[in-house]
């Protein structure tokens, strides 16, 4: 039983939510680096190029770290 439990725990494929947060964190670091280097705010495409990812990946990643506006409709589950 312990082994099955361990297997289930280890078999934990990376979820999009986590990978987006990782990307967002890297994007914020790239943004700071570029701001220093360029002396101005970099564009999203410049950040994506710096990271070697597509611009849409940066957009979606940044979205994942936005505080959601509080809504009082109950979230369906």
């Amino acid at each position: 039983v312990g082994e099955v439990r361990r297997y289930l725990r280890d078999y934990n494929p990376v979820r999009v939510s986590r990978s987006l947060k990782d990307t967002a964190y890297k994007a914020m670091q790239a943004k700071e680096r570029l701001t220093d280097k360029l002396g101005r705010e970099p564009t999203i495409v410049e950040i994506a190029d710096e990271m070697g990812v597509k611009k849409h990946e940066v957009v979606l990643a940044l979205e994942a770290i936005v505080d959601p506006v509080s809504l009082y409709e109950p979230i369906f589950s």
Partner: protein, 147 residues
Amino acid sequence: MKAINEMTLSFISRSANEGFARAAVASFFVQLDPTVEEMSDIKTAISEAVTNAIVHGYRDNLGKVQIHARIYPDNRIYIRVKDQGCGIPDVEKAMEPLYTTCTTGERAGLGFAVMQSFMDKVRVRSSPGKGTTVILTKKLSSKQQNA
């Protein structure tokens, strides 16, 4: 001026779709290569408009929210958020900062003020019982200007 690109998005007024709408619109406008700040301003304004449609327009029911977005050759963006919800009896009053019909204390009455401060122009058309349309426009700084 004729738009050089446009898209339309429609979805159910579920709260889960607020983030989706914001991300989808951001994914559309990234072709203009904005900065993170510019994009964040646009996203914040859209959030407020979509949230209003969901929580006020369709207060007691679910309905459709439609977003139409356009890009003009001079770097102007156009966003129209439309609901067929309860409508606003007095638009001018609704747009006053701190005015809210929310009685639970959860909303600050600053949604329209936020849209106005983050976008160049905010237009609202509404008829009670028929729905509300909010039009947001903004001219983005072009890449040339940033260089």
